[in-house]
């Protein structure tokens, strides 16, 4: 018996790159939405996605904030977790070895309140097993001094990224995670890139508020919180578009409300070389694997043989026709 030719199966090359490091899929989890990956193991093959982006880790274990920590909003949610986590020691002792043994890649999100914290975390990750790279969370809205989110200031952002890049494992690409809550995201993106960031993760949550109309007080224990989910997708896409237009050679990990393969395709067309799936995991724990398959199908249907050929394709000049894409 001979095998039938697989003419109808779209064979799109889905290999992607995170700061020059090849990954098997352009779909990653999103920081803060998949813990450290273990809980998703029953639902899909963690090896088959680009990487598990860990919950942001800090130097010390953190309890996180008091409850309530979340509220559902239209096509989204607002959260104020406060970076609950085991700290870098717990990450190195328990979480990274598990991911490495499982064959999954870890894109480690780090957070801190001082530049030196970030640098120390990057230093500690040198040589750790299974680490793909580092996402520098300079934009969490749920930190101590909300008025001092690094990513609201180009100079502060640049200082952190330069410090991290200087001490991080040379094999680890370093991405800056940016907030959309700024007037000019391109200036922050450029500052990070100039400071040595190998790529940009866009976007973190938007700062929001929900009030309980029964108690007539804010719902969240932390009062304000980060808005995520499909509600913020157009904002995220706009940020990716603007930054890719200004800095076409800077790799972008796009995120913000991605729920389907077509959502992911929008980010790729806007200039993202890879995407993170965050809040959608709460709705559908197998979403990263599903979105990978849907994105591959969508690319094939549009005549793309390689994911790489679709990156930034929406920026082409008006006279260029859609139709054949490829080398």
């Amino acid at each position: 018996m001979t095998a039938l030719p697989e003419l109808d199966v779209p064979s799109v090359d889905m290999q992607a790159s995170i700061g020059g490091v090849p990954v098997v899929s352009p779909v990653l989890t999103a920081s803060g939405c998949s813990s450290f990956g273990r809980e998703l193991d029953p639902f899909f093959d963690l090896e088959g996605i680009g990487a598990v982006v860990t919950k942001s880790v800090q130097l010390r274990p953190r309890s996180g904030r008091a409850t309530p920590r979340m509220a559902e909003t239209p096509s989204g949610m607002i959260n104020s977790i406060g970076l609950q986590g085991p700290g870098i020691d717990g990450l190195l002792a328990d979480e990274l070895p598990w991911l490495a043994q499982r064959g999954a890649k870890a894109f480690v999100s780090i957070a801190g309140s001082r530049t030196e914290d970030f640098a120390e975390l990057a230093q500690r990750l040198r040589g750790a097993p299974g680490v793909l790279g580092i996402e520098v969370n300079i934009s969490c809205p749920n930190v101590e001094s909300r008025g001092e989110v690094f990513a609201c200031n180009p100079d502060a952002s640049a200082e952190v990224l330069a410090a991290v890049r200087a001490v991080a494992d040379p094999a680890h690409p370093v991405y800056a995670k940016l907030t959309p809550d700024v007037t000019d995201i391109v200036s922050v993106a450029r500052a990070c890139s100039d400071a040595g960031a190998n790529g940009l993760s866009m976007i973190n949550t938007l700062l929001g508020l929900v009030i309980d109309t029964d108690t007539m007080r804010p719902v969240l224990g932390g009062v304000t919180g980060g808005l995520s989910g499909p509600a913020i997708r157009p904002v995220a896409l706009r940020c990716v578009w603007q930054v890719h237009q200004a800095l076409p050679n800077v790799p972008i990990l796009g995120m913000g409300g991605i729920r389907t393969g077509l959502d992911a395709l929008q980010f790729v067309l806007a200039g993202a070389g890879a995407v993170s799936v965050g809040t959608a995991v709460f709705n559908d724990p197998s979403a990263p694997a599903r979105i990978h398959a849907e994105l591959a199908e969508a690319l094939g249907e549009r005549g793309f043989g390689r994911l790489a050929d679709a990156i930034g394709y929406a920026h082409r000049r008006p006279e260029e026709s859609p139709g054949r894409h490829g080398r």
Binding site: E39, R62, R65, P141, E144, G147, D181, G221, A280, D284
Partner: protein, 336 residues
């Protein structure tokens, strides 16, 4: 695993009643202010089976006083579920604007089916309650840690509040099948909000119903009958609103009776990744952690939950010292 699918082998024999070791001091409770007693319950062991996700077909829907009981065909879930576990439903269909899963205790299993009692309170639960036979719903389960079973011969007291009583039905039947004496107290605000009365009455004696307004059974809270019955119990199981769980756990602990409480905490995912459903719970090492109700619960040893501190950030919770001075809850006038 025992033949009837219970976690009998997972719990050390006598784990619920043995005196906790003190020679090493491990089980003492220095972090809890004013607490020098030993804890009665170990943390509940994890479930035997990982959860699965899939589409379940609704095969039955019937109103049960103020609630709707849904029965769903889902052998992967029904065949591995243990009493105390729950399922998490996606609501509103694939394009729904409601992204968060609705977590509901499993009320019964059998023949590849499981049932849940839905309280239609807001848009998501109303959508669930309106599902008709033949329709499908995306469900993840079984989730959470089941009720640990007591040593052979231990008489059990079950206490259910509102629709929380549904979570005790499977447990009651299992305990009876294993030869335990089972007593039960079921309470609610009024008769319409009582739940699983017939199911629990069938397995429990004595069986007491209470309502706040006296519209059914004894007028008042469950705590009255519980205070009378706890002396004859070797273990207490409770599911219901947090104030009820706290009162029942306190009554049990005061009589040195171990208790297990299944909490109803707000969850976004149900599978352990969102970190929204945490409670301050004393861990095996005696330190308090913000523990996820979904994967470290929903069943906790009643004397390990720090009910007084729910909704606050106690200074002795692991990692609280890293939160900084600005992390007192709900700072007035805080600005981004």
């Amino acid at each position: 695993m025992t033949e009837d699918g219970t976690p009998g082998g997972a719990l050390p024999e006598g784990a619920l009643t043995q005196e906790v070791p003190t020679s090493t001091g491990e089980r003492l409770l220095p972090p809890v202010p004013g607490a020098t007693r030993e804890l009665l319950g170990e943390p509940a062991p994890p479930p035997l089976h990982p959860p699965v996700q899939g589409m379940a077909v609704v095969v039955g829907s019937r109103p049960v006083s103020a609630y709707v009981e849904l029965t769903l065909e889902a052998p992967d879930i029904a065949d591995t579920a243990q009493p105390g576990q729950f399922v998490a439903f996606a609501v509103g269909g694939p394009t729904s604007a409601m992204l968060l899963r609705r977590s509901i205790a499993i009320a019964g299993v059998g023949e590849g089916r499981f049932s849940v009692v839905v309280s239609a309170r807001a848009a998501g639960s109303t959508w669930l309650a309106s599902l008709r036979p033949g329709e499908e719903v995306d469900v993840v389960g079984p989730l959470g840690r089941p009720f640990p079973l007591p040593p052979e011969g231990t008489p059990a007291l079950l206490v259910g509040g509102g629709y929380g009583a549904a979570a005790l039905v499977g447990l009651g039947g299992l305990l009876r099948s294993r030869g335990h004496e089972v007593a039960a107290v079921v309470g609610a605000g009024d008769e319409a909000r009582l739940c699983s009365v017939d199911d629990l009455a069938a397995v429990a004696a004595p069986f007491v119903v209470t309502t706040d307004d006296g519209s059914s059974g004894r007028r008042g809270r469950v705590t009255g009958p519980v205070a009378e019955l706890v002396a004859g119990a070797g273990v207490v199981y409770a599911c219901g609103p947090m104030p009820m769980l706290r009162a029942v756990a306190d009554l049990a602990t005061a009589r040195r009776v171990p208790s297990w409480v299944a909490v109803e905490e707000s969850m976004a995912c149900g599978i352990g990744v969102c970190m929204t459903c945490v409670l301050p719970v004393v861990s095996a090492d005696g330190r308090t952690r913000f523990s996820r109700s979904c994967v470290e619960g929903p069943v906790f040893a009643g004397d390990r939950v720090r009910f007084d501190d729910v909704g606050t950030l106690p200074a002795d919770v692991v990692g609280a010292d890293a939160m900084g001075p600005a992390h007192t809850p709900a700072v007035e006038g805080e600005t981004p």
